[in-house]
Amino acid sequence: MLRFVALRLARALATVIAVMTFAFVVLRLSGDPAQVMLGPDVPQEAVEAFRRSWGLDAPLWQQYLAYLGAIFRGDFGVSMRDHSPALALVLERVPATLQLTIPALILKLGLGIPAGVYAALHRDSLIDRGVILLAVAGFTIPSFVLGLVLVLIFAVTLGVLPSGGSGTWVHGILPTLTISIGGIGVLARFSRSAMIEVMGQPYIRTAAAKGVKWRNVVRGHALPNAAVPIVTLVGFMVGSLIAGAVVVETIFSWPGIGRLLIVSVSNRDLAVVQCILLLIAAAMVVSNLVVDLLYGALDPRLRAQPAT
């Protein structure tokens, strides 16, 4: 068990480093922050001075090593824009994003899974067909289209909800809906097929044949088996709590991580972008790790075991 965890941790660390490296290299090859920050009309000496002061004149590998070293000392650099620490800048935005993504996640789980399970148990019924139809519609419409449609309906036509901005919980309604609808669809469809698969298994018939009440066959015998594939998908959704709102935050001008990312990328604010990407990668990796451990709890066949 210890070796298993150590192995997984090492792999997680390797993933994070790979993401960092990729982000580092791509950011430096895709534009000069000095030009962007200082504007086109600045004299060459100023540009050189800017580069020197940020260490951008050193060879790429030296910059990279310095960056890695700083990260391991806990130093995430400072924003080129206002010289405030990048990490603080990023963390400051996290609550705003979570204000959207956590309610959205709760909606996804609370509506998607029950809808899928219900549809599976009433296969080919009218409700089942309705669920499939809505689910497919839900995850095929891109979120920027969905967001705009919702704004048109609720803000422009009906005028009951604000079209953007933040401050009150009312502002959060449309962005949260926009984020959650696709996920509800995906989860409903996925839960439905997982449940149908499980309900067709011989052990379900065994449970019914031994006299277990129908409701307990579903609850006690089917759901624990269907949970294994569903957890994978939920893990992915949890992992994207931080990064899952980039588009929606932009549409609704919500001051979260996503907007910060968009702004920082266009400004080539290297430290901030790197810090955000690192945070996103870490969230993904951690949720993956949790899912792996959950597998073992849910399915004994996947559990590490000594040879008997």
């Binding site: 070796r3 298993f4 559990r303 590490a304 075991q305 000594p306 040879a307």
Partner: protein, 329 residues
Amino acid sequence: MSRPPLLEARDLVRIYRSRRGLTGAVTEVRAVDEVSLKLRAGETLGIVGESGSGKSTLGRMLLGLDPAQGGTVLFEGMALPRFGTPIWRRLRARMQMVWQDPLSALDRRLTVAAQIREPLDIHRIGTPEERPARTASLMTAVGLRADQGGRYPHELSGGQRQRVVIARALATNPALLVCDEPVSALDVSIQAQVVNLLRDLQGQKGLGMVFISHDLKVVRNLADRVAVMYLGRIVEEGPAEQIFAEPRHPYTQALVSSIPVPGRPLDARILLQGEPPNPAARPAGCAFHPRCPLAQGLCRTRVPALRVPEPGRAVACHVTAGAQSPVAA
């Protein structure tokens, strides 16, 4: 001696490495352990054994589909070329395999006739104009009607699908046919049809056949010689009639006696104790000793060699084969 046997295996070894669980140590499973056998042209060799005996692995190794870690396979006296090489591919036309599940062996998007014809195209047998006629004659040979050629695999019954697989295997005029549980998925009445078909085809074409099955009744009916496998090793070999009439190895005895025969009471059988063996935890000495009613001290420590108690038979048992018998070559 004059002609080499059609197929000869010498000391074949196949080891699978597997990890138990996610953290467990790597264990070695000797799926096939120093197996030697010979097959003459026109002869049928039955290989019987329970799950974990390595009989299917051995079948694949005989065609070079599964690489051997040790030992050699000789086909018509020549060492089998490596899997996937052009020479192997050419040789493959002469050695065919029939699997248990015909549906998964067939392409569901191609008609039956197209699938039987495919090997003719691949190995460029006959001119393209001759191939439809040859396809038709193959279908007749396995008892399929001409109008069934246009059907798709899922439109046929299990028995008919297995006929398609057999027709396809015969398309290249092979000298050797390896059948792995070819009738196990079929109903009794259909099973008899396919067994008769295999026997007739073999008689007509002089094929050498390796017939792998857990069904002793079918093997007795089809095979000239039988090899009994237990945990990767051959424990007994000999003429089919003799093996089933007077098995010598205690395992063969139990296996033969476990076949339910109408009229024989339940308690007249040798009932083996214990579970089928786990290839990953192979007992020391004779692998059968924990379940063997005759096991002695020696059986727990030393692996018995295949000995020849009488010409044509070989038994690997300390107790029943006798130490004075010569060791099999």
